[in-house]
């Protein structure tokens, strides 16, 4: 006889007590479910508010008000010897003022000429530089209007407000309305946002510099942290003896992942810039700094991925006589790759949004053209957002939100890539 078979009193599964307990148990289940559900709803709600406000303020930046008119490229103002320094401003000014011959010279003409952006002459310069044969002819160009009129067109500030409370005066409104009535005003997609670098003028400012800077920065980060991280993780996981020292290293790596990013910025400032004398504001230094921050993430993710490779595969390889490095290179690493890549991309996605350490090493440089190498000063998306958020011009408010949306888009793209890679590689077998 086994000891377990002593007789229990038969339990009444259908009694009043049992029913009450059952009811309580179901109620508790329901409550727990509701708590979870409400937490999700709250989180989703907050996210919706955040995204909503960004979209509400930012969407206007994705279109730009343009004015289209004919310009006579006057040979008198064209400098044959030095086309770059020709007086394109006068060409624009003369042609634009010709649209309103009734406006007398003086302050009124100046007010009229506020309508096209200062960038108009740059656009004309580009066109002429590309094709000098246009000199002496009349061409039609479409240029951004200046920020005030862009805002006005997009409905910022009421038309009925007192003239003093507006940034455009009554006369300017009349001119602008006439241009609109003539079909000269249009609001196409704002490509400037993506193919121009920064500018003092919101209507001319774009994210190209920041995107290129971010690209270089991520490149440097990846090139540094991916191989180093994997190598470190392989050593720690596969070769290092398990003793006090490796324990300490492991704990410190985990701690490093939790160090505030500003500390890395200070470290970079002190070591990379001051001790090594590397160039300020360069993606190289930024990448090195971010690589330091990403390393622990990659090491931890890689170690977890290595650990997750079933021991049976190692045994199988050892069993047919594979040496340790063959086991790792032929079997363990390929199997761990999805995990490693996911960890790396998450780490990079984290790096893409990092601001504080970059500000410390000066990666908030004001650059009116995209940098061409990892040693040129540059900005990144988050630091660009930081710069724009700090700028007084009203146009930058919408631009900031738009830049944040672009940044979020990049993050989603990278996370999507991580998910795709993981699915893809894991499904292979």
């Amino acid at each position: 006889m086994t000891e377990g078979s002593s007789n229990f009193a038969r339990h009444d599964w259908d009694g009043a007590d049992a029913r009450r307990r059952l009811k309580r148990r179901y109620a508790a289940n329901t409550r727990l479910k509701l708590y979870g559900l409400s937490a999700i709803v709250l989180a989703l709600g907050l996210l919706a508010v955040l995204l909503g406000s960004l979209v509400m303020t930012g969407y206007k930046s994705f279109v730009q008000t343009h004015v289209t008119f004919d310009v006579y490229v006057n040979p008198e103002n064209y400098d044959q010897a030095n086309p770059f320094d020709s007086d394109y401003r006068t060409m624009i000014r003369d042609s634009f003022l010709k649209l309103f011959p009734e406006v007398p010279p003086g302050p009124q003409q100046r007010q009229l000429f506020d309508i096209p952006s200062t960038g108009a002459q740059l656009k004309l310069r580009e066109i002429v530089a590309a094709d000098p044969s246009v000199v002496g002819s009349t061409i039609r160009i479409s240029v951004p209007v200046s920020d005030e009129f862009d805002q006005f067109q997009k409905g910022e500030g009421s038309r009925d407000a007192a003239e003093d409370a507006r940034r455009v005066n009554d006369r300017q409104i009349v001119w602008f309305d006439k241009l609109a009535a003539d079909g000269k005003i249009s609001t196409p997609f704002n490509w400037t946002l993506f193919n121009s670098a920064d500018s003092r003028f919101p209507e001319l400012a774009g994210l190209k510099g920041a995107i290129v800077g971010t690209f270089y920065l991520l490149l440097v980060t990846f090139v540094l942290s991916f191989p180093i991280g994997i190598a470190a993780a392989i050593y720690l996981e596969e070769f290092a003896p398990k003793n006090k020292w490796t324990d300490i290293i492991e704990i410190n790596i985990n701690n490093l992942a939790a160090v505030p990013s500003i500390v890395f910025g200070l470290l970079a400032l002190a070591v990379f810039l001051q001790t090594f004398g590397l160039p300020r504001s360069a993606p190289l230094v930024g990448g090195m700094t971010i690589a330091l921050m990403t390393l622990p993430t990659i090491i931890i993710a890689t170690r977890a991925a290595l650990k997750a490779v079933p021991p049976s595969i190692r045994e199988a390889a050892l069993g047919v006589g594979a040496s340790k490095h063959q086991v790792i290179i032929h079997h363990v690493l390929p199997l761990a790759m999805p995990g490693i890549l996911t960890g790396t991309i998450i780490g990079m996605a984290h790096a893409i949004g990092e601001t504080a350490p970059l500000l410390l090493i000066g990666m908030n440089a004001f650059m009116t053209s995209a940098s061409v190498g990892i040693l040129d000063p540059a900005t990144t998306l988050p630091t660009q957002i930081y710069i724009w958020a700090d700028s007084p011009e009203r146009g930058f408010v919408a631009r900031t939100s738009a830049a944040i949306l672009v940044l979020l888009g990049f993050l989603m793209l990278m996370n999507g890539l991580a998910i795709y890679l993981r699915r893809r590689l894991e499904r292979k077998w």
Binding site: P241, I313, E315, A317, G319, V320, G321, A322, S323, H330
Partner: protein
């Protein structure tokens, strides 16, 4: 007799008796824990030797001494003599990679590489440089799969994944993979514990066929399996061999009370 003569005689005896592995006084320590307490056992050529015993008795530990798989455990320490054809496998001169090619292993859970059937088989020969041309590799694949009784089932899909096979097929693939490096001994660590009875029977049939060419050591928890496939059986208990001998004798008339109690199901 001089020492050399004694050694000569032992060697000749061993050859006459067809001894492949001769192990004497094998101790294994995991840290402070003594997992094997002096095991003496001979493994013969062309015979299946079954190691039985309750969990934690040291039978797998012993098995893993034979191809030095215990090396992969940091805290493991092995003493005693383990002679493969008269040469100590723990000798410093012995290359463990070569040893493991000579002494193949099949594991409890079928563990094909997540590669194609073809690549599973050629992996061993490739890293050991046993073949160089495509024709040679093809031949190895065909021979190994035929020996493992899997050829007819997979010959049309050598490129499909090894893990897409059924459990029993996977285990036979693992056996084929072990055979591919032409080992002399095949160690099997509970090779059928994850298989259904039909797949188990196939593997047992295969083991019986392989006996012609290899020395086979099998660890099993199924006494019926040990009784079915082996010629010799060793009963391990708490790190030592309680009894070893002809399988028939062990299962009809064990000499030791502990053996009897174990195989009749009196303790576990």
């Amino acid at each position: 007799m001089t020492e050399a003569q004694v050694e000569m005689k032992t060697r000749m005896d061993n050859e006459a008796n067809n001894v492949k592995f001769s192990t004497r006084g094998v101790h294994v320590f995991y840290g402070d824990k003594e997992a094997l307490k002096g095991v003496d056992l001979d493994i013969n050529n062309n015979e299946v030797t079954a190691l039985i015993g309750p969990s934690g008795c040291g039978k797998s530990t012993y098995l893993r001494c034979l191809n030095r798989m215990n090396d992969t455990v940091d805290s493991a320490r092995v003493t005693g003599s383990i002679l493969l054809d008269g040469a100590d496998v723990y000798d410093r001169k012995v290359d463990v990679v070569q040893l493991r090619a000579r002494v193949g292993m099949v594991f409890q859970k079928p563990n094909p590489f997540p590669k194609s059937i073809y690549d599973n088989i050629v992996y061993g020969p490739r890293i050991h440089g046993l073949a160089s041309t495509k024709t040679e590799f093809d031949e190895i694949v065909e021979t190994s799969l035929k020996k493992a009784g899997l050829w007819n089932e997979v010959k049309d899909r050598l490129d499909s994944g090894g893990t897409s096979l059924s459990g029993g097929q996977q285990q036979r693939l693992c056996i084929a993979r072990a055979i591919a490096v032409s080992p002399e001994v095949i160690l099997m660590d509970e090779p059928c514990s994850a298989l259904d009875p039909i797949a188990t029977a196939r593997v047992e049939e295969l083991i019986d066929e392989l006996r012609e060419n290899y020395a086979i050591v099998i660890v099993t928890h199924s006494m019926q399996q040990a009784a079915r496939v082996s010629q010799r059986t060793a009963f391990f208990h708490i790190g030592e061999i309680v009894e070893h001998g002809n399988t028939e004798q062990i299962f009809t008339n064990p000499r030791e009370e502990r053996t009897r109690d174990y195989i009749t199901g009196r303790f576990g």
